[in-house]
């Protein structure tokens, strides 16, 4: 690894470098960044984000994000901890509405309409833009009920005495759905003999895969994943990676990851966020990792900071 002028600096100083750079670059940085973040791709944009700003109280967490996310592909979001990746992801299905301190400005267009319009239907939106959270959050219910929770709430699955009497029992379809989702999430083999057990009894990694399966079961069009593999062992991780690649044939996947190799392996395009909530560069994954435009991005992916 070639050492440049940062050679003599101590670790702590290195960490503060981007801040210093940022202030030194001044006005010009804005222009350059716009250039680097204008990503041209073939095909349709599933989501297009423009002039998105997020504040937590006085804290400006995301600054002027413009980004078009192409459909049926995998978009990776990388960046140092605390740079706003999760915040950004939560903007895409309006989960930030749950955070009282958060204030969101700007547009996120889904199918040509702004999801932040007053007449947006949050339920429909979240049904079609699914999400897997950074830390696993299974419901305190059985594994089966965790999977069928979404379809049940959307009225796609109906079981129980009344449904049976009325001849609408979907028990079989439920079983098939549970099996398919769990297999997709590479969890089936481990839990198929205890689908009735409480999901809180699973290990952390299993819980995370359960949450992925739960998301897939509602059959969304876009899947937002916040570090889906952070709690998994290498085998499960590679299964999840395969799954993501497979999903991109049909779905639009946006995935946050801290693992550069993973981003390289699975994504078609990569967006790099840096401390302070800026989107610094957004391009084909290959381009980002082989020949980034921005010095800061190069520093980040070669491990100089972050």
């Amino acid at each position: 690894m070639s050492k440049t002028d940062t050679d003599s600096r101590s670790d702590t100083q290195t960490e503060s470098q981007p801040l210093v750079d940022h202030t030194v670059e001044g006005e010009t940085s804005e222009e350059i960044r716009d250039e680097w973040t204008n990503y041209d791709f073939d095909g349709e944009a599933k989501l297009s984000v423009s002039e998105l700003n997020v504040y937590y109280g006085d804290d400006h967490a995301l600054k002027d994000i413009d980004m078009e996310i192409p459909e049926q592909s995998v978009t990776a979001l990388i960046g140092p901890s605390g740079c706003g990746k999760s915040t950004y992801l939560r903007c895409l299905n309006r989960m930030n509405d749950r955070i009282k301190a958060a204030r969101i400005e700007g547009n996120v267009e889904f199918e040509g309409k702004n999801i932040y319009d007053a007449d947006a239907n949050l339920v429909e939106l979240r049904k079609r833009i699914g999400m897997v959270f950074q830390s696993p959050n299974p419901f305190p219910k059985s594994i089966r009920d965790n999977i069928s929770y979404g379809p049940r709430k959307h009225g796609d699955i109906d079981t129980g005495l009344l449904a049976r009497v009325l001849g609408r029992d979907d028990g079989e379809r439920e079983e098939r759905l549970v099996e398919r989702s769990l297999k997709q999430a590479a969890l089936w083999d481990e839990v198929n003999d205890r689908l009735g057990d409480n999901a809180l009894g699973l290990s952390g990694g299993q819980q995370q895969r359960l949450c992925i399966a739960r998301c897939l079961a509602t059959d969304p069009e876009v899947i937002l994943m916040d570090e889906p593999a952070s709690a998994l062992d290498p085998i499960a991780t590679s299964k999840i990676e395969d799954l993501i690649e497979e999903l991109s044939e049909e779905y639009t996947v946006v995935v946050v990851t801290h693992n550069m190799q993973q981003a390289q392996r699975i994504s078609d395009q990569t967006a790099v966020f840096l401390t302070g909530g800026e989107l610094v560069e957004y391009d084909d994954t290959e381009k980002i990792f082989s020949d980034p435009e921005s010095q800061r991005v190069e520093d980040y992916i070669t491990g100089k900071f972050g």
Binding site: E124, F133, F139, G150
Partner: protein, 356 residues
């Protein structure tokens, strides 16, 4: 935390005066014990022992504050246990006479009248029936409405509104029961009497309704605590799947808070069972005969509490003792409910901690 129990190392440093202090501490402890014993045996000397204790404590406070503070805090901790023990002992002691005279017919008598002090008949069944009826009515009101109120405050209302409603509900709890009773007595009793052409002023129905209103705030605040303690991540998980807020409450939040919410309802039941003045003022407090038929909620009998409050004044010895039996029954019911709700709450805490 574990480091904070050491008092012995302090002793080591001051070995010199520790013997004098130990003596004073012993005198203090003994004199307090003596105060208690003398008070129980109804001796005037209790106050002397108390003075000795105060003197010993004052000496300790001035010269060995740390140790004295520790000692006093131990003593104060014991007060609660001692009081509860005394309540238990004296309730049973006073109830004994009635048990000797009336035996199990206190609770199991089948002939009417079941309660007639002038004939020396002391059975509590009618009052127990009244307590059950009013408590059921109160629970039917306070349970669902209380849980709905808790959901409103913690999940549905905008923050501002919630901050307004919460203290208002506490205020509702603050209105003294005698005031509720007075309104029931002066306004609602009369209203129902004329509107429904009742035979008597006052009815179990009305008493139950008023008691329900009084138990409502307890249910709201305890259930609200339970609901807020459900982790946000669970709720987000449900919402992110496209469930509505209401589906999330029904499907995730309430089931996860189930133990806490049931503890809230149990506490509400406990309040309703023990509520005295509203029932006393609203009801006719006759405990001789069951309503006819037994489910006639417009009858005006008595509850255990109202029986005690309305009859202790001119009660002769056995009657008073029978009223103490009513107290024992109340005490046992409420202790049981309190224990159950504590168990449930502990389970809930373990559940929610266990999964994080």
């Amino acid at each position: 935390m574990s480091q904070r129990t050491g008092i012995s190392n302090v002793f080591d440093e001051r070995l010199g005066d520790s013997t004098a202090f130990t003596a004073v501490a012993a005198v203090g402890a003994l004199s307090l014990l003596a105060t208690f014993v003398l008070f129980v045996v109804e001796s005037d000397l209790a106050s002397v022992a108390l003075v000795v204790f105060v003197a010993a404590a004052a000496y300790g406070w001035l010269f060995h504050q740390a140790e004295t503070a520790w000692g006093l805090s131990v003593l104060t901790t014991l007060v609660g246990i001692v009081v509860l023990g005394l309540i238990l002992v004296f309730l049973f002691l006073e109830a004994e006479k009635a048990f000797e005279t009336a035996g199990l017919s206190l609770l199991l008598r089948s002939a009417v009248p079941v309660w007639s002090p002038s004939q020396g008949i002391y059975g509590l069944q009618v009052a127990i029936h009244g307590t059950i009826v009013t408590t059921v009515i109160a629970t039917l009101i306070a349970g669902p409405l209380g849980v709905a109120g808790a959901l409103f405050i913690s999940e549905i209302a905008p923050e501002r509104v919630g901050e307004l409603v919460k203290p208002a509900i506490e205020m509702l709890a603050g209105i003294p029961s005698i005031v509720y009773g007075f309104i029931g007595f002066a306004i609602l009793n009369r209203y129902l009497f004329y509107e429904l052409q009742l035979n008597t002023q006052g009815s179990l129905f009305l008493a139950g309704g008023v008691i329900g209103l009084m138990a409502l705030p307890t249910v709201v605040s305890v259930a609200e605590d339970a609901i807020t303690s459900v982790p946000e991540s669970m709720k987000s998980g449900s919402l992110a799947l496209g469930a509505t807020d209401w589906q999330t409450m029904k499907g995730i939040t309430l089931p996860a808070a189930f133990s806490g919410v049931s503890a809230a309802i149990i506490l509400g039941i406990g309040r309703a069972v023990g509520e005295t003045m509203a029932a006393t003022v609203i009801l006719g407090n006759v405990a001789g005969e069951f309503p006819n038929p037994i489910f006639d909620v417009f009858a005006s009998t008595a509850t255990l509490t109202s029986l005690i409050a309305s009859q202790y004044g001119d009660a002769a010895e056995t009657q008073l003792s029978a009223l103490f039996v009513a107290g024992v029954v109340l005490f046992v019911i409420v202790m049981f409910l309190s224990l159950v709700s504590q168990l449930i709450e502990r389970r809930m805490r373990r559940q929610l901690e266990g999964d994080s």
